[in-house]
């Protein structure tokens, strides 16, 4: 099973692809597009190989497909990869959304005089960095990619974004993330100094828990703030509406659909097993923040006038649910949170992409510029409604399963919180349906008739790229069992630390090379 270095390939292929695409001349835009798409296709194939080779049994090793190569010996820094069920889902999401995002922005750059090869190279570099954060099993290695991915995203927003505030948004995004990352860096260094120079994740979680409670609390906060900014959790969220509003829609789909999940993924991967006591100390506060986030962001979303900002705010509300699911510490809620991360990527990714279709046709993402648009764009309106309904967790769509699991799990532990969070569902219905009504239904905005593109319904390319997302949302809505099977062992392992029985962990597979 471990013959091929599949995980190394997952990081290396898009990285090399990025270099190749970047070296293509500006004039050969089509060559760059197809090369980038082919590279992301190879990533999908490798991901499929990993998914088929993965051992889903309950007692299987936590991290699988492990690889380890010494990099900087003085720091105990290895290039070491490993994948668990949670990471596998995230990798699949990344690998799946990237080619879709590429297809979605296939011709968007024709209107602006920006380099097409550079755009696709940046997307591939971003994909490589995001995959690396999910696969890294060395804390410092994780940090490297956690920071490095800011660079491609910064240029994608700042250089290829839309709207007058794109530079402001890009800089704000970069500085917020960098600040969070630097807090994490201090915590990483302090952790390293205190445990005798170990960065290897497996060694760290198997070690005795830290005796010094105060230190553990500080380290937890250092990591958590970085991840909470990345996710983003209320009240660290203010960069997301700006970034999401300014980024090209396909990039926003990657930003909110995948990159933000790194925050919640890392909380599960690093905060819970490494600082279990501190996690429990802060859990009530974080649950409180999550619930406020669910309600506050939903209210703000209702008031938005820009479609992309609206979708960004809905995401903040959804991240509240994920936070609630993780920190309620029940198997159902944590499993639900991980599924939520995956399903939210599908649903919000689709929503952002459809909004992108609209914005490129109309030349604006302002809600007021639409109205009655469904008359000339029936199919697009249908997909838009579908994506909206999925994101409000309509039963039958995948997000319903995860939202139900989160609330169900939270309810068994903390009823008032679960009841409050449930209000978020009602608000979600309000912002989604009202958004749809204002843009697609009602009296037709006469200005729309002056825009010929608004009479062009979904093209073949657009149909091809939304189809997999629609199928996945429906498929996992009716049959979520494969996802649950993949996630549950890893979630159980993680929660063992909170219940205080980490000795029941499965043994590590294939002791690393060093």
């Amino acid at each position: 099973m471990n013959e091929l270095p599949l995980l190394s390939a997952l990081v290396a292929v898009p990285l090399i692809g990025a270099v190749v695409v970047a070296s293509i001349k500006r004039e050969n835009a089509d060559a760059a597009r197809w090369t980038a798409l082919a590279v992301s296709g190879v990533v999908v194939v490798i991901t499929a190989l990993v998914a088929f080779g993965f051992d889903y049994a309950a007692g299987a090793p936590w991290l699988q497909f492990t690889e380890s190569y010494t990099w900087i010996e003085a720091w105990d820094l290895q290039i070491s990869w490993g994948v668990d069920g949670i990471a596998l889902l995230m990798v699949a999401l990344t690998a799946g959304l990237t080619p879709i995002a590429m297809l979605a922005s296939w011709r968007d750059l024709d209107a602006v005089k920006r380099s097409v090869p550079a755009f696709f190279a940046l997307i591939l570099a971003l994909e490589a960095a995001m995959l690396a954060t999910f696969l890294a099993s060395n804390v410092l290695l994780f940090y490297f990619f956690f920071e490095a991915m800011l660079v491609p995203m910064y240029f994608l927003i700042g250089s290829y974004g839309t709207g007058p505030k794109k530079q402001y948004a890009a800089v704000k995004f970069f500085l917020y993330s960098l600040l969070g990352g630097l807090f994490m860096l201090v915590a990483v260094i302090a952790l390293w100094v205190n445990n005798g120079g170990v960065f290897d994740w497996q060694t760290l979680v198997e070690a005795e828990p830290m005796a010094d409670g105060t230190l553990q609390n500080w380290l937890f906060l250092g990591f958590f703030i970085a991840f909470a900014i990345k996710a983003p959790f209320f009240p660290f969220h203010t960069w997301l509406p700006d970034a999401g509003g300014a980024a090209p829609a396909a990039v926003a789909a990657l930003l909110v659909g995948v990159m933000d999940k790194i925050g919640t993924f890392a909380i599960l991967r690093y905060c819970l097993p490494m600082f279990p006591d501190a996690t429990q100390t802060f859990a009530p506060w974080i649950i409180g923040m999550s619930v406020i986030g669910v309600l506050y962001a939903a209210f703000v979303a209702i008031g938005q006038t820009d479609l992309k900002r609206l979708v960004a705010y809905t995401s903040i509300a959804h991240f509240g649910f994920i936070g609630l699911g993780i920190f309620a510490f029940t198997q159902a809620s944590a499993t639900g949170a991980v599924l939520y991360m995956f399903n939210h990527g599908l649903a919000t990714g689709l929503l952002f992409i459809v909004v992108g279709f609209l914005a490129i046709r109309r030349g604006s993402a302002q809600i007021a510029d639409y109205g009655g648009a469904a008359k000339t764009l029936p199919l697009l309106a249908g997909v838009f409604l579908f994506a909206g309904l999925a994101s409000l967790s309509l039963p039958g769509t995948a997000p319903f399963i995860s939202e139900f699991l989160v609330l169900f799990g939270a309810f068994t532990g903390n009823e008032p919180v679960a009841v409050l969070a449930t209000l978020g569902i009602i608000l979600a219905a309000a912002y989604v349906l009202w958004m749809y009504q204002r843009t697609m239904q009602g009296d037709r905005n006469p200005a729309l008739d002056d825009v010929p593109a608004m009479r062009r319904d979904l093209t073949l390319r657009e149909k091809v790229l939304v189809a997999p997302l629609v199928i996945a949302i429906l498929g996992f809505g009716f049959y979520p069992q494969p996802l649950i099977d993949a996630v549950e062992p890893a979630v159980d392992n993680t929660l063992l630390f909170i219940s205080g029985e980490p000795e029941d962990l499965p043994a590590a597979e294939g002791v690393s090379n060093e």
């Binding site: 003085a74 940090y143 250089s159 630097l182 860096l185 201090v186 302090a190 100094v193």
Partner: protein
């Protein structure tokens, strides 16, 4: 032969300095004998060859851990060849080679950035005559004298030798600052400012040395350290001495509040000289600080720890905040160099735990900053450098290669992973945490976050803004400056991706003799 009887001299150990000084004198002879038209290649070849030879001599000395002068087996303090001293000498030699190449660039503007007689009235007949000439080759011997002084500074084991070295490295630099061909007024103002303040600093140094001599009865650093525990003299002499010596050294290192000269001098001096100062003088100044505090003042750490901590905090925060508001790329880099001096001070305060990491930081920062100034010297409005940031807008469109390079350098200065900026900050802060300096590390991190903003502002300008119709041109190909940029960027990335070998070297070379 009386006192010198039994004096043993380690000639091989002194060879690097002897080579550099000899080449400097040789350069003076070249000025006197070789025809003007052929001086430039001869001088550059001589300087580079001498520095390369000095570097090889340093490498051959590696592993030495003794005084260069000894009487009947007992080492004298004056010149000490130990791990840190040798490592810093080697670093200085390499960085100086790079800086000399930048000084030698003549393609950017006819005749180069320097004039031989800056005092000649601008645009007078005499001035036009000297502008036409491929002149001002005396900068190379001057540079060699300064670099020789720096090499001596980092190996000086007593305060007196250190003072000689300090003057040796400073005087040529004062002169070099004033030799700009363009914007002569601010260049000369910079030279005067640097000279006056530097003279003050030297005076402080001599007073401080006298105080410490009164306290310890010796100018030998190891002796001062012993006296820190055992001397019966009033401790006030120690305090005054430490304070005054520290003022002089922190002045050279550009720490707040002794930084006032830095932005003006960095801006006014010809850019290649600024690069030399930002890279090499930084190495020398911190080499001296490391040695004085580790060897001479470790035993009195309690007495200076608080005040130096305050200075480090002020330097980190002050440098970063002032950098935010800058509109001139050279001033921005000057304030960034002040903030970086703050990070390096953290390494000095952490004493023995962080010597190796501080040296690593010096090497990493030196290469990055030299390349950054080299790029600055290439971006030009006609004959003049376009140093105002607004003129850099949209450079990514007109000269993508230059913009990519400068972006990498900015990201390295901001400390992004996969660049030397990250490895250097990481190891330095880790060492400081090991020495229980958590507070300083947190301030350092906050300062880095603030400092990221001005760097990012430059990146925004390069890529996301539209260029002006009369945007500056990038002077390519410029073989010399191009080599400098390539070397600096290569080192920046190499030390970020594969820092292992250099980390091992600094680890082995991190112990001072007599600590």
């Amino acid at each position: 032969m009386n006192e010198a009887q039994g004096l043993q001299i380690d000639w091989a150990g002194l060879a690097p300095m002897i080579i550099v000084f000899a080449a400097a004198f040789g350069g003076l002879l070249v000025e006197a004998t070789v025809p003007r038209a052929r001086r430039l290649p001869v001088q550059v070849a001589l300087a580079v060859a001498a520095l390369a030879a000095a570097f090889i001599a340093v490498v051959l000395n590696s592993g030495k851990n003794a005084a260069a002068f000894a009487i009947e087996g007992t080492g004298l303090g004056s010149v000490v060849l130990d791990g840190p001293g040798l490592f810093l000498q080697g670093t200085l030699a390499i960085l100086a080679i790079v800086a000399v190449l930048l000084l030698a660039e003549r393609r950017t503007t006819r005749g180069g950035d320097f004039v031989a007689e800056a005092a000649v009235v601008a645009d007078s007949a005499a001035d036009r005559a000297q502008q036409r000439e491929d002149g001002a080759t005396e900068i190379f011997p001057l540079t060699l004298f300064a670099v020789g002084g720096m090499m001596m500074f980092v190996t000086a084991g007593d305060l007196l030798t250190m003072f000689v070295a300090l003057e040796m490295l400073s005087l040529p630099l004062y002169l070099l600052c004033g030799l700009a061909k363009r914007r002569r007024l601010i260049s000369q103002e910079a030279a005067l400012k640097y000279f006056l303040l530097g003279a003050f600093a030297s005076a402080f140094y001599v007073y401080g040395m006298a105080m410490l001599y009164g306290f310890a009865g010796t100018v030998d650093l190891a002796g001062i350290n012993r006296a820190g525990v055992s001397s019966g003299q009033p401790r006030m002499f120690l305090y005054l001495g430490v304070a005054m010596i520290a003022v002089a050294l922190l002045f050279k290192a550009a720490a707040v509040p002794f930084h006032m000269w830095t932005p003006d001098v960095y801006t006014g001096a010809p850019t290649p000289v600024t690069a030399l100062m930002a890279a090499c003088v930084k190495v020398a100044a911190f080499g001296g600080l490391l040695r004085v505090f580790n060897v001479g003042l470790a035993s009195s750490a309690w007495d200076w720890h608080l005040i130096l901590t305050i200075i480090a905090v002020a330097t980190m925060i002050g440098g970063a905040i002032f950098a935010v508001t800058q509109r001139n790329i050279k001033r921005l880099l000057a304030y960034s160099s002040i903030a970086n001096a703050g990070y390096l001070l953290v390494g000095v305060i952490a004493l023995g735990d962080a010597v190796g990491q501080t040296m690593f930081y010096l090497a990493a920062y030196g290469f990055t900053v030299i390349a950054a100034f080299a790029v600055v010297s290439l971006v030009r409005d006609g004959d003049e450098e376009a140093t105002h940031l607004a003129r850099w807008a949209g450079l990514g469109k007109k000269s993508p290669a230059t913009a990519v390079v400068f972006t990498v350098l900015m990201l390295a200065l901001a400390g992004l992973p996969f660049t030397s900026g990250f490895t250097a900050k990481f190891s330095l802060f880790a060492a400081a945490l090991q020495a229980d300096e958590l507070g300083l590390v947190i301030v350092g991190v906050v300062s880095s976050a603030i400092l990221a903003f001005p760097y990012l502002k430059v990146v925004v300008l390069l890529w996301l803004n539209e260029p002006a119709p009369d945007a500056p041109t990038v002077n390519l190909p410029s073989p010399m400056a191009g080599t400098v940029v390539a070397a600096g960027v290569a080192a920046t990335i190499l030390l970020g991706v594969a820092p292992g070998p250099l980390l091992d070297i600094v680890d082995q070379a991190s112990v001072f003799l007599n600590t």
